[in-house]
């Protein structure tokens, strides 16, 4: 039984689209991603696949955060 899906509201100022795409590519074997909304009201649904580890959603979000931080620091330094 895979972990239950989780929907979160994303701010593009904190998570640029590139960071989500990077995480999506890295976790393509573990979960699928649905993006809804637009502008500042972007909703991301993470749907763990059958057999994925229990913390897949949290790991995905941590990965996306690290990608967002790297993008932010690269653009400001």
């Amino acid at each position: 039984m895979p972990p239950l899906p989780r929907t979160v509201r994303l701010s593009p100022a904190l998570y640029p689209p590139g960071s989500i795409e990077k995480a999506r590519a890295a976790f393509s074997d573990l979960c699928s991603i649905e993006l809804g909304g637009s502008g500042n009201d972007v909703r991301l649904t993470i749907l763990p696949l059958e057999g994925s580890p229990p913390k897949t959603i949290e790991e995905f979000l941590n990965y996306a955060l690290c990608a967002a931080v790297e993008a932010h620091l690269a653009s400001t330094e």
Binding site: R6, L14, E59
Partner: protein, 140 residues
Amino acid sequence: MPHTRRTPLTLHIHRVAGSKVMEHRIANSADGTVAVTADGSEVARLVVDTALYTLGALFRTCYTFTDRCYIFLQQHGSHEVVVEFRKSDSSVALADVIGAFANELINQRVRAEIAHETRAIRERIVSQAFAEADFRAPTS
């Protein structure tokens, strides 16, 4: 007596649908209600005033804590970001993590301030050092 750094935090612990949720609010933040999602796991939230702590300081702090716990950021109004913490393993004490996170926020903020204050002299030192260097390929 050693100097103790004090972090202006208030702590509220309550339960929502069986989940233990801790909300920490940096005292300087404006009042506001933070939404809580009950999924059965322990979740802690820290509201960070981005007028006080820059986004750069917040990002750098998050980066150093992603190996200790799971972190998710949510924009809350124009000057607040809610940092959501979840345990990455059962031995992690979220209250301790939040305290350390808040201290690291201050640390990163001060580092940024010092970097800004010393930028001119650092650039002068580097340009002086390179001015004396000879980058031409050695001739045989």
